[in-house]
Amino acid sequence: MTTTDTFPRCGPYPAAAPFAPIREELTTRFGAMPDRLDLLQILVSIQHRLGYVPAEAISWLATNLGLSRAEIHGVVAFYSFLEETPPAPYTLRFSTNITELWQGQEANMARFKDLPNVRALPTSCIGLGDQGPAALVNGYPLPRLTATRLDAIARAIASRRPVAEWPAEWFKVDPNVRLAGPLLEFAFTPGALVERVLAAGDAAFMEMLRASGLRGRGGAGFATHAKWDACRAEVVPEKYVVCNADEGEPGTFKDRLLLSDHAELLIEGMTIAARVVGAKQGYIYLRGEYLWLYDRLNAALEARRRAGLLGAKVCGAADFPFDIAIHLGAGAYVCGEESALLESLEGRRGVPRIRPPFPATHGYRGRPTVVNNVETYCAIAQLAGIGAAEFAALGSQGSAGTKLHSVSGDCAHPGIFECAMGTQVSTLLDLCGTRDPLAVQVGGPSGRLLFPEEFHLPLDFSHVSSGGSFMVIGRERDLFELVYNFVAFFHHESCGFCTPCRSGSNIMLNALQRIRRGQGTEHELQIITEAAAVASKASHCGLGHTLGNPFQDLERGRPAVFQDRLRDSPDGTVLDLKRAVAEARALRER
């Protein structure tokens, strides 16, 4: 890492670092009168440098950006990684996805609970499920937390060793490619594919895209050509292409690999998209958990600018100005939802927009915007290289190409596998070295829980569609804990905008907690069933629509998991008197 990094490793943070010294730096980066759209980016920078957002900074932002304080507080409070309280010297955020909890993450966290100088907090999956359990220290990833490593970390903290001086080995993220296929092995000369599209023309590429049958890799599987067509049809000078690198679905880390080792392919794909839909500016929305990739990605962009592959005349074409900037998220899963992502890109709270209108016609700053997943853009570049027929032949009927799967959990070879669309679940289970698992969670918590009787199903858009998460669940695991963990995840990540998701996830979590404590009856089960159904029907966005999936899948597939935990109660009530009066007793100090 060089000293010019925008986000070097920071800390230990002083208890209340003054804001004034970094004000200048912000002015250099964002201008004397920063744009309102930069609010989140400025907050992220302040948070990273100081470990918090001091009151002074809020006043400065309110004045310079012409915003109300309440609005800035509202933005800060929305994102898990932004804080207004003075920091501890070190903050460890432990990834609490179920696979990592099963690897002992609870105890890892507890180890730091009472140590001085450090806060140990839980956080949603940080995209290192193949090399977990993992944590972030002041925003930087620490994979493979063994007991020895944790001891060493505790010593570094006790001696207040600067995070910048911690051994590089502690931060080393393995690419962990277990099976590479035509996408990961695709070789090309940077710029050559853009030139090919420039030569053939936009219409010809659109025809190729349509013929290929390429569908989005981010989870929803929307036909890419249809989205681009809608954006192309808008006749306005200002359009945008946005890369969704939020990768927030627990257990997903395939975009991590593409961003770290195949950035060239991603940028090539985004540049083709810009040419074809007519955009001059692109953004990569990078999740806050991937802060460690920021400077690396920026270097890749800079290299392309120097090579004339980004900038005023891309590939020398006078009519093709295009550049890309990176925007960081700050710990909010919902910002992966494309309209919430656009809100966040505009510096606001990541609350999903009312749709229609869709981003393709009304996106970033209200302008036509194409939002695609990282892997989708990479597939675009690959398609430009190999053509529609070859691309389609790589997959199955209705599901062209290959798919990257992030495999984690109870298997011998966790990591990234590139498989043809249509590969059976059982084949991937064999490849990753697992015998006779209890179940597998495909597509993350919002996806599907599959049992052995479903392992013959193909992984493609017509059967088991996946955004790329594949968590193997071994025989010894408790599926109740899986569902509990996922509901807690949705509850934590709900943006709170709409009733069914905000209140419904809370109702579900509370009822699951009662069952978990041994106080649940048939009544709890019914409440959860109903809340899940209401959320799936009536929510405002996909988060609420899918939050009931894990419960519904388990209840359908293995109802005994719940039944065995219920307490018999003839009138359907269970009163734990001690618990019920605990608060009153505490208030009366008895």
Partner: protein, 246 residues
Amino acid sequence: MTDQALGITIDGAAVPCQAGDTVIDAAHRAGVYIPHLCFHPEFGPHGSCRLCMVKAGGRYVAACTTPATPGMSVESDTAEIKELRLRITQMLFVDGNHFCPACEQSGQCQLQATAYGLGMQDLHFSPSYPKKAVDASHDEMLLDRDRCIQCNLCVRASDRVDGKHVFSLGGRGIETRLMPNSASGLLRDTEFSAEDRAAHVCPVGALLFKHDNYARPIGRRLYDRTSIDRIGNRRADDAAPGGSAP
């Protein structure tokens, strides 16, 4: 101008539409009431309370945000949709702390009136009794977050009509709270005044005038004798029968 060619049907009855209508716009103009709390004719759709859920083309959609497309067939007053709305209302109740019998707004509250309209008899879900702070700092107005349903109407009114930006929603998820815009975070230290439009839009009892409460005797309150589906979403201080039709 309504145009028959643009029309939709709601529960089988023809409803004429104008260009640009959402389902709720067309319904209310035709005198068909669809329950709602965060939608307001003056401030438009918000899409957060989800009470206006209807079924169209086999899909569940919010009537306030869904464009009325010609020939659309909408199900609204069906047993299934009414149950869905009832459950959403109950979710709103357990999401806050609503002690109706003691509430100043009882009888004039749109949440309560909606619950009555849907035949709500109990909370159904277990209450969560969330901790929400009351802000009594302002001379004229009380902010009782226990009753706030986060419809955003005061935020919108203060932004768009008063131009004061007094309110914002802060936090996330179940921790989302209405926040006044001041360094202290208190209502007293904002520019808020009881004359503001924002002081006259709360559909529940979250933003209350401090004086003259309980002035109207039981039996003469807004919704005591007329149900919300007949007189629409109104406030006791609405100048003319306005609110959202019918």
